[in-house]
Symmetry: C2
């Protein structure tokens, strides 16, 4: 039995070793503070929880249509209209098993073996895997801290070759917590359309933003079409706090729907049924108010961390205004520094290696999906460690 | 924007058009009886439902490990020991988003572009898609009704070429409701191992069997290993009635685990979390007793259908002893016959086209995942239609 070439090509998450180490230290009684986690520290909003219990109690547990519950597709369409003032017909919205399945269907439908897809570096580690699984090749476009780690069309077009099939970007981006500007979105979508390529925009952290109203590329382009070859990926995981429910959605041009439906039927059958019914409650005023309160808490944490990190010896050159991540310069090799910080100060932040092909070892990611109290303790410990190289008494 | 070659290669489920037609007739008030559905007609067992509500109420809604909850992996291992008297270490069991994700990880880990994988024909339509998505080619091995639509090693080895990477079989099989014998399993697994290939056995209908005790290929081979290159696919959907929860599992050789873990991390993050906690309740005595009662109801329906169909003019040459399907000879072109039967007798059974490259238009599938009362009405209508070509008064 031989393993496939793909299985050796696909990278593990290097951070998992660090997280295992952190868990082992915790099991020994060390008070580790996790700034490593890509998951909100809040439970599911109560109305969503109640809707989930209600769905189960009324036996809404059988298969749904492969593209998702019509009611939920309509609710997402309504949400785009009410929250973003964009018209996206419900039939262009596909419900998926997390943003993961959406990214997979998008790449399977659009990338041929031998194609290249442009990715902003740093970025979400799994993006390259979705491309690799089609036989395509990720082509990483290095971005600069001073430009908030987001590429311009000028950057992307420089890397466009005859092999290039399209572009996959994220705004807000993980690990940087930064967004594309509306101007950049406009130039990039127009540029890509002119080249006859596709553009996938991951907006899973869309409403977790702190300095400006939440935005969508759809506000710039309108609904995707054959002329605007755009796919937008979104998720109920982050803003709506449904991580373990594995539910997301995608917005696609109508002409791609038959292909996406075939992939969904064949590869997943359908997304989790009770989660789909529960997600209808995400768009109720009561739930949105809870999510908005949580957004404000994240903003306060962001404000704290952005000011406190430089004081504790961690340089920032970008302006993280979204998601719950800060991507910062590591005092020395981030692989070593993150290990030392964990072992000596019991703070678990993660090295850049998983997110970047270029400067991963210079950079590190802090997640502020943790309580303000824990963030304050973490900053004290980081400061102490950076000043003395030894742990603070706890 | 060009669509990928794969997206045109992947087939839609042709049956969906028929099902849409059935739903339209139903919306017009026609009393359609669905014998088309691959889903038990029972709700989730009560203890599983309660466990699911309990998981949600206690906020067990965050990400789990990519390979699944350790508790559930252990419970599946214990179940193999108690129900099948086989020892499979918990760490060789991977929890997945339905059997679909398991089949996907298996093919991604084992099939290279240009490889061929042998499939029994007729079989589950999506199997070919999982192979095609790797760049591999499904090689269909025609099986005979008189041999219960299951291949022998002699059949498979005849199709083995230098391109062949392995074999994917199902026992019980969909659409035929038939199983591999223990002797065939022994010969096939030994033969495949000798050739240096892999064998994937889909056992998702394992415990829905009516003439002999449920069996697993693992009873023949023991736990998979480098020497026994076997992957077993299973599901909580059918016997345990959790279809819309999208939860399955796979048993893999230890040396494949790192690759499977990388695919699970990158492509899914984790299976649905509350579903995983709920699935622990599947192995409680109370749940197993409910599932056993349901199995007996399925057996009674199977007995009824196997005797009633020939009397109503539908020939059977195989002995369906498992799952909830009967694959039978269609009186004429099954695409036409199934359409006529739906329109004139309001019985929705499905043509063989989705399941077979060879004789799909000669054959059709009946599902008996419907009440005995409905099955009886369906048989009366089929009989009437076959005798007179006109609908029975309802």
């Amino acid at each position: 039995m031989k393993q496939s070439e793909l299985s050796t090509l696909v990278q593990p998450f290097h951070v998992m070793e660090l997280v295992k180490h952190a868990n082992a230290l915790e099991a020994q009684g060390k008070p580790v503070i996790h700034l490593s986690i890509g998951e909100p520290d809040f439970p599911m909003p109560e109305p969503v929880q109640q809707a989930l219990v209600q769905a189960i109690s009324t036996n809404k547990t059988r298969y749904t249509a492969a593209l998702g519950l019509p009611e939920l597709r309509q609710a997402v369409s309504d949400y785009y209209r009410s929250a973003f003032q964009v018209q996206v017909p419900a039939n262009q919205i596909v419900i998926t098993s997390g943003a993961s399945a959406a990214l997979m269907y998008a790449c399977l439908a659009l990338v041929n073996p031998g194609n290249e897809v442009l990715l902003a570096d740093p970025g979400y580690p799994c993006n390259k895997t979705f491309i690799q699984m089609t036989g395509g090749t990720p082509a990483f476009v290095q971005t600069a801290e001073e430009e908030n780690f987001q590429p311009s069309w000028a950057d992307l077009s420089k890397h466009w070759t005859e092999k290039t099939a399209g572009v996959l970007l994220a705004s807000p981006n993980n690990p940087t917590g930064t967004q594309l500007t509306a101007t950049a979105m406009k130039e990039i979508t127009a540029g890509v359309a002119t080249r006859g390529g596709f553009i996938i925009v991951d907006e899973i952290y869309q409403s977790l933003c702190y300095d400006h109203p939440a935005q969508s590329v759809l506000q710039v382009t309108g609904a995707p079409s054959e002329q605007m070859p755009l796919l937008v990926i979104n998720s109920f995981s982050k803003y709506f706090g449904m991580t373990g429910l594995r539910l997301g959605w995608m917005v696609v041009p109508e002409n791609l729907l038959p292909a996406i439906e075939r992939f969904a039927q064949n590869l997943s059958i359908c997304p989790n049924t009770p989660a789909q019914w529960a997600a209808l409650a995400c768009f109720q005023a009561e739930t949105l108010a809870i999510c908005e309160e949580r957004r404000k808490l994240f903003k306060a944490r962001r404000d704290f961390m952005v000011h406190a990190l430089p004081g504790a010896g961690i340089e920032l050159h970008s302006t993280p205004d979204s998601a719950f991540y800060i991507y910062a310069k590591s005092p020395y090799s981030s692989e070593d520094y993150c290990k030392d910080l964990l072992e000596k100060a019991w703070v678990c932040a993660v090295p850049g290696k998983d997110f970047s092909q270029y400067r991963g070892n210079e950079m590190m990611r802090f997640s502020y999906a943790n309580s303000m109290e824990n963030l304050q303790i973490a900053i004290e410990r980081i400061n102490q460690f950076n000043q003395t190289g030894s742990p603070k008494a706890v």
